[in-house]
């Protein structure tokens, strides 16, 4: 599954890494590409939207929705 989500609150590479790890903690085989400038995370793999939303929010970022 490929999907892109708008995520607010990522301001540096540490934030980008944090979002990536949080998603991979719930879905280890999912690939995550963060566009920090755009505030968009592109997902390739089995993680579904609800898993991504929960992981992102638990990591302290704002899950806005599909990008």
């Amino acid at each position: 599954m490929n999907a892109s989500y708008r995520i607010d609150g990522m301001t540096c590479q540490g934030c980008a890494r944090s979002v990536t790890k949080a998603i991979q903690a719930v879905s280890p085989t999912t690939e995550v590409a963060v566009d920090l400038e755009a505030g968009v995370v592109a997902i390739t793999g089995p993680a579904d939207g609800d898993q991504v939303k929960r992981a992102v929010e638990d990591a302290g970022f704002d899950f806005v929705g599909p990008a």
Copy 2:
């Protein structure tokens, strides 16, 4: 329980919030104070060291140990 831990990789307030939320996701009543400059997180509440370590690592930061 009060404890302080050295955590590497936090570079901005987004990172600090991420670490705080990650710890509170596993232990909601734990208070977390981040000293970004020092790379130290002070914990007040029931979260134990193993929980903190796992939450911090799942969030993409490096848990170094007691500060």
